[in-house]
């Protein structure tokens, strides 16, 4: 009796997969063309800045591509295992210059990451170098990897 509904549900799974594939195709086009007019606005705040999260053993490193920005441009908070980065990148405007092409849009962003492990909030360090913001979060003692020695038999 339920088999028909099950089949029906699965047909939507196929559509979901198709959608994921289409997203990937558009994502690839984005990589190739760098800039797809009209898509900027939709992507902008949700995907900017591009983030990397690296588990480096004792620390968790969150880095973000923020070209042209400095330390004071960010508002970083850590609340209940969620790291939030907020800020605004202003458009390039120079006196006496006319803009012929604009791809580096102004963006006001807020991105948050649910951290996969417990961290010691007091030991968090953030710095900006070469347009990359790196936040180093020290893992809480109980979350640190532990080396377990294997003893020989008696």
């Amino acid at each position: 009796m339920f088999s028909r509904f099950n089949d029906f549900d699965r047909s939507f799974d196929v559509l979901d997969e198709l959608r994921r594939q289409m997203d990937r195709v558009w994502g690839n086009l984005d990589e190739h063309w760098g800039f797809v007019p009209g898509r900027e606005q939709a992507l902008g705040a949700a995907t900017w800045p591009r983030l990397n999260v690296v588990d480096a053993g004792a620390n968790l490193l969150v880095s973000a591509d923020v070209p042209g920005m400095t330390e004071k441009d960010f508002d970083i908070t850590l609340d209940d295992g969620v790291l939030a980065i907020r800020g605004e990148r202003k458009p390039l405007a120079l006196e006496g210059y006319e803009v012929l092409r604009r791809e580096r849009n102004a963006v006001r962003f807020a991105r948050s990451i649910a951290l996969p492990v417990k961290v010691d909030a007091e030991k968090t360090v953030a710095r900006v170098k070469d347009g990359v913001l790196t936040i180093s979060l020290a893992k809480a003692p109980e979350a640190k990897p532990r080396q377990i020695a294997v003893k020989g038999g008696v």
């Binding site: 063309w33 760098g34 990397n52 690296v54 588990d55 092409r101």
Partner: protein, 128 residues
Amino acid sequence: MSAKDLQKTDKIDPAKHAVTFRPRVDVLESASEYLVVADMPGVTREAIDVKFENGALTLTGRRAEESHEGASTTLTQEQRIGSFERAFAMPEDVDAEKISAELANGVLSVRLPKQSAKQPRKIEVRAS
């Protein structure tokens, strides 16, 4: 595709699979120069190649993968690494000899001054 292949595709090495990406660029013009500004986060000065040839400005280079001490696992990879390229046909009045480039805070600025001869010149009319 075997189960082993599937495992392989699951562990994507961004350095090997990355296509050439295109950094975002602003182009500005003033009375005396053109200014090309490109986002290049995490790229070192040595890894950027700026070329001007036959009236075209080409920016190429490579963003190296960040190295970490000891064993590390990448959980999220959104940053684009690998080679990048952008090329622009510039107007004819660029003075190729005076082009300069500067990298600061992950932003590359290339200044292309206009040839002074192409700027409006006032010709004095003398009495004979």
